[in-house]
């Protein structure tokens, strides 16, 4: 019954065409949600549809988004980093300290990035070299990094940043487009290309689906994960520069709780928390959605801590609702 002596059977490359696949994706659904919230917001508050207000609104998601891109790759590979907000605190503290000693903007940027990279390397060491679970390691470094900031700063704050430093968080590159949204866009494009168009990105997906299989296929799993942690730390450093520049000051409690928002953004973007799937465009749309939600709530004078209830609900809802749907559909079918 061997067909190999005859003409080999034809297996097509793909079953569905691109349009079909795109329309049925999580990203498409999210886009609809984003548009919906936009419309809702414009009815809810008269201040919403003002170009400059919208421009200000972008600050709600730009810093978190920068980290979310790196975090997305990390989560796809099957790991997680809960210490990102604490890395921001430490990087910000380091920059503040340097500013006290009269460092100029270029030096501050280098320090911010360097601290981010170092923290990322620290995490990477414990997870890839020592082989410890990233959840516990980053819960530990979450305390450690912020703890160091507390040791250095205690109750106080650093101010006194050079004027030119403010450009990152407060500057504009053209009309209403802020420096931060530009940085966000550049990072989005870079990560999008890396994840979807390079061998490295393919390796990340492979590792997330089956680390043993990936290893047996010649992928240097530990090296890839090490790099991913470094990148997450680096992006936290970038976010630290932007955030510190925007606030103009540093406290040890800076960015408290931001790791929750970042993880929510990633999960909302369609990245599977267990690893193996998800896309960058999804994270971009998720960033917009979260920005719209927080901005809208802010316009309605909802206090921050209540806003975080929405974020918490969003995080759980995004994962729970699809599963509920499947469960209900299965029940209906068997009934």
């Amino acid at each position: 019954m061997s067909d190999s002596t005859m003409r080999a059977r034809f297996v097509p490359n793909r079953l569905n065409n691109r349009a079909y696949r795109v329309l049925r994706s999580w990203e498409a659904l999210l886009l609809v949600v984003a548009v919906g919230i936009f419309v809702l917001n414009s009815f809810a508050s008269p201040y919403f549809l003002n170009v400059w207000n919208l421009s200000d609104a972008t600050y709600n998601f730009t810093e978190k988004g920068m980290i979310a891109f790196a975090m997305a790759l990390l989560i796809i590979s099957g790991e997680i980093d809960l210490s990102v907000a604490s890395i921001i605190a430490l990087a910000s503290t380091a920059m503040g300290l340097a500013a006290q000693y009269g460092a100029g903007t270029p030096e501050l940027v280098m320090i911010g990035l360097a601290v981010g990279l170092l923290c990322g390397a620290f995490n990477a060491f414990f997870v890839t070299v020592l082989g410890l679970p990233s959840i516990v390691v980053t819960i530990g470094t979450m305390s450690l990094f912020r703890g160091i900031s507390y040791i250095v700063l205690g109750d106080g704050a650093y101010g006194g940043y050079p004027d030119s430093f403010a450009w990152f968080g407060q500057g504009y590159i053209y009309w209403v487009f802020t420096a931060e949204i530009a940085i966000f866009a550049v990072i989005a494009v870079i990560y999008g290309v890396v994840l979807h168009k390079t061998n490295f990105g393919r390796a990340v997906y492979a590792i997330g689906n089956n680390p043993t299989g990936a290893l047996f296929s010649g992928i240097r799993v530990q090296r890839v994960k090490f790099i991913l942690f470094l990148l997450t730390g680096l992006m936290s450093g970038v976010a630290a520069i932007c955030l510190t520049s925007r606030l103009g000051s540093t406290r040890p409690s800076i960015a408290a709780g931001m790791e929750l928002s970042v993880v929510t953004m990633v999960v909302l973007g369609g990245i599977n928390i267990l690893g193996g799937s998800g896309s960058i465009p999804g994270v971009v749309i998720a960033a917009f959605v979260m920005g719209l939600v927080t901005f809208g709530l802010g316009l309605l004078n909802v206090p921050g801590i209540v806003m975080s209830i929405f974020i918490g609900l969003l995080l759980i809802g995004v994962i729970a609702l699809p599963r509920l749907w499947v469960m209900i559909a299965a029940k209906k079918r068997s009934a």
């Binding site: 019954m1 061997s2 067909d3 190999s4 080999a8 059977r9 297996v11 097509p12 490359n13 793909r14 079953l15 168009k197 390079t198 061998n199 490295f200 990105g201 393919r202 997906y205 492979a206 997330g208 689906n209 089956n210 043993t212 299989g213 990936a214 047996f216 296929s217 010649g218 992928i219 193996g276 799937s277």
Partner: protein, 177 residues
Amino acid sequence: MANGIVYVPEDRGKQGTIIGLPIFQNITLPSLGRTSKSGFLRLAEEFKLAREYSERLDLRAASLDQDVGNLSGGNQQKVVIAKWLATQPQVIILDEPTKGIDIGSKAAVHEFMAELAAQGLSVIMVSSEIPEVIGMSDRVIVMRDGRIEAELEGDALSPETLVRHAAGISATLMEEA
């Protein structure tokens, strides 16, 4: 891998295929260096490579884009073999290649292995099925407790001698029985 020696593992699910990824990505994974350009993926090249080897192995699937987890055991094994063949190795080691596969696919795999050998590839098969070993091999190395016990070929190659060496029973005992 760098020396042209590839290994098709016994544990197909965990070590062989990457379930969650499509068939063509599974096949091209170790060969990305050749299909990609300066680190950037080229999907057209990948599909070409995947098609070439999946046709050689007569892969049964709905599309190359399909998740490899949807395939039968036999077809998954074909994907794994295709993956390693695509790297154009000189030596291919197959560890229990027909374990848990239906008869039809088993025969196909055997036929294929013979073809490979005929093409000049060195094929090393690890197996614990006596008929398979005797039927397929030019030369058999029997191992026991991690050590090479015997090397058999030609007339010396029979089920009895195989089992005897594998179990470590001496020839005199056998003749007495």
